[in-house]
């Protein structure tokens, strides 16, 4: 069979993958550098009978996809920093009400309007902590088109598996980069379908009663079971409650269902990590430069390795700790002031051996930038 090879932007890959995953509903508001996703959706979705909505802002965009998810449809929105900031309250609602959906944030330089057309990776912490209150979140990223495809599909899969919003953190550099991608054949990447309740009509269905495996079967709005959805603490019926036992049980459930499955959710790539004595840890566009350097240095016999993270949240603590323990020192490569660095230091047994190679000037970090910092750390001068 002919392979389906395309030469497209990262943002377009995200669209292809979302449709592959079964996306039926998209709502968004234009913002650089994510706009191509909305534009493509406007063209593609109606052709398959899906719905594209251009809403009045990013708040309503996330609200609309949350509503659409409750009627049983896979739903997504895409934005960038300022829009992601606006979404934070509605994100918390989707967490609390356990409504699957996917939010793409094609990161640009921040804060505020910042650098609309330049790459940044400054929203890693916002993805984790942006909405108020204790909670857990899943956030994924990718550095190349094949992986953007994979991680977009994974985002939908995790959203359904854990009944939660999932954030896909892309960046301007990969979003706008054109490169080759082979679109997988249908069925090549497994898809997680909406888990629907088997409780028959007329018998009580509890929308917020987890099964033994922790999953919560859903029932579509419009089907027989009628239930209440709320952002207040609620009981198994979805009815508001401030009973301390119920409150405690729900917050534990919301956090544990994700944190206790961090091994299942962890996605990463190891490049020459096994025998490395110096380790780079990176993700997204930065990981492209890190990989370039690793391969270049390997060809000269230097034992450099790269741990490329694709799951950023829940942070893959054990994987990072183990990788750091086996090397002389570790350098985290990213385009912010050390958001993942902070997590790596927390994970590592010897935080004093974790260093940062970053750029925060809107320019893509280059292999030479990383190389220069490595030389400084190694006492070789610049």
């Amino acid at each position: 069979m002919n392979k389906n090879i395309k030469f497209i932007q990262g943002n377009e890959v995200c669209v292809e993958a979302a449709l592959y995953a079964g996306l039926e509903f998209f709502a968004g508001y234009p913002i650089t550098p994510s706009t191509e996703i909305a534009e493509q959706m406007a063209s593609r979705l109606p052709r398959i009978g899906g719905k594209f909505l251009q809403m009045e802002d990013e708040i309503s965009s996330l609200c609309a996809i949350t509503g659409a998810s409750l009627t049983g449809h896979k739903a997504m929105t895409a934005t960038s920093g300022p829009g992601f900031s606006l979404m934070q309250e509605a994100l918390g609602y989707a967490v609390m009400a356990e409504i699957p959906c996917v939010i793409v944030n094609v990161m640009r330089g921040g804060p505020s309007t910042g650098l609309p057309t330049h790459a940044g990776q400054g929203d890693v912490n916002q993805a984790r902590y942006g909405t108020h209150g204790d909670h857990a979140i899943i956030a994924l990223t990718a550095s190349n088109h094949q992986d953007i495809f994979r991680m977009t599909v994974e985002a939908f899969n995790f959203a359904e598996t854990y009944r939660t919003p999932v954030i896909l953190l892309l960046d301007e550099a990969t979003g706008h980069l054109r490169e080759k991608i082979e679109i997988p054949e249908p069925g090549n990447i497994p898809l997680v379908k909406r888990l629907r309740t088997s409780v028959k009509s007329g018998i009580d269905y509890h929308p917020y009663l987890p099964r033994e495996d922790g999953r919560l079967p859903m029932s579509d709005f419009g089907d027989e079971h009628r239930y209440n959805v709320t952002g207040l603490y609620h009981d198994m019926w979805g009815f508001p409650s401030d009973n301390p036992k119920i409150v405690y049980g729900l917050i534990r459930h919301l956090v544990d269902k994700i944190e206790n499955n961090s091994h299942q959710i962890a996605r990463f790539r190891k490049h020459h990590v096994k025998d490395a004595d110096v380790l780079l840890i990176s993700y997204g566009a930065s990981a492209r430069s890190a990989l370039h350097l690793v391969e270049n240095r390997r060809s000269r016999g230097e034992k450099l390795g790269l741990l490329e993270l694709q799951t950023l949240w829940p942070f893959p603590v054990d994987i990072v700790r183990e990788a750091c323990n086996n090397v002389k020192f570790t350098v985290v490569v990213e385009m912010n002031m050390g958001q993942v660095l902070q997590q790596v230091r927390l994970a590592a047994d010897m935080p004093e051996k974790i260093f940062l190679a970053n750029r925060i000037d809107g320019e893509l970090i280059t292999p030479t930038d990383i190389r220069n910092i490595l030389r400084v750390i190694q006492g070789k001068g610049v």
């Binding site: 109606p46 809403m55 309503s60 949350t66 509503g67 659409a68 509605a90 709005f221 419009g222 009628r226």
Partner: protein, 267 residues
């Protein structure tokens, strides 16, 4: 069916104060739904946050109690993804027109088929009596201790200007009219707005010295008239009740169906 068949008895007693107008609206709404013979599984009620928004917990429909001001945005997602559902969106005046004002005008502009009920008690009840964009000049609230200098929106004018294709107003005193107008609003194929003047004796009544719930209802009786009433000519401050706008214009979900056909032909 009896009205009680439309409520979730498990979730009672309700949280509203004695004399609150919101319960009257709930009652009228259930009568309207019963009269129309709607199937409960085809109704979704989406609300925001406020005393008014709690109404969605008490009805035995699919219900979504969301975040402050955004009910119409959630409802838009529900309706667009399953247009066969009847979507009812009750909102407080702050919910609908302060924090949610932008969603309100855009939902009206799209003419998406849903029923927006503005439960207008002219105050923020849930947070304890602050003024709202519908309180009006000179009214008192905890955040307007010297009298409000903010002017109010007129819900009817605003809705008409924004493009709502059914716009009506009534009060909690006029209960038969209320349930009749809710029926009409639900049946209307487009975005319908029903403003219901609803008393909050606890905060508006007390702070503005209007008296208790009964006194407030008497004000609705005395100070409102049917649209076109001659009394209005001699007493222009009277508030009109009835249907202000009812027109047939292309509805958003049906427009989208046409768009899908077009997109498929262009493939």
């Amino acid at each position: 069916m009896a009205v009680k068949d439309y409520i979730r008895q498990r979730f009672f007693p309700h949280m509203w104060c004695a004399g609150c107008g919101h319960g009257i609206i709930l009652n009228a709404l259930l009568r309207a739904v019963d009269n129309l013979g709607l199937n409960k599984k085809n109704i979704v009620m989406v609300s925001g946050i406020g005393c008014s928004a709690r109404i969605s917990g008490y009805v035995d429909f699919h219900s979504m109690h969301t975040i402050h001001g955004r009910a119409l945005a959630y409802a838009t997602g529900v309706k667009m993804s399953k247009p066969e559902l009847n979507v009812i969106v009750p909102m407080g005046d702050g919910d609908a027109l302060a924090i949610g004002g932008n969603h309100f005008i855009h939902a009206a502009r799209r003419n998406i088929e849903m029923t927006a009920i503005v439960m207008n008690n002219r105050i923020y009840g849930m947070t304890g009596g602050q003024f709202s964009p519908l309180s009006g000049y000179g009214s008192m609230g905890t955040t307007a201790p010297y009298g409000n200098i903010d002017h109010n929106f007129d819900v009817v004018d605003l809705s008409v200007a924004a493009g709502a294709t059914f716009v009506a107003r009534t009060t909690t005193y006029h209960v038969h009219e209320l349930s009749d107008l809710i029926e009409q609003a639900i049946v209307h194929k487009g975005f319908s707005v029903l403003e219901v003047l609803s008393q909050c004796p606890t905060h508006f009544g007390r702070r503005n010295k209007v008296g208790d719930a009964v006194d407030m209802l008497k004000v609705y009786k005395k100070r409102t008239v049917r649209i076109g009433s001659e009394k209005k000519q001699t007493d222009p401050d009277l508030i009109e009740r009835g249907v202000f706008v009812k027109k047939d214009l292309p509805e958003y979900c049906r427009e989208y169906d046409q768009l899908i056909l077009k997109a498929r032909q262009n493939r």
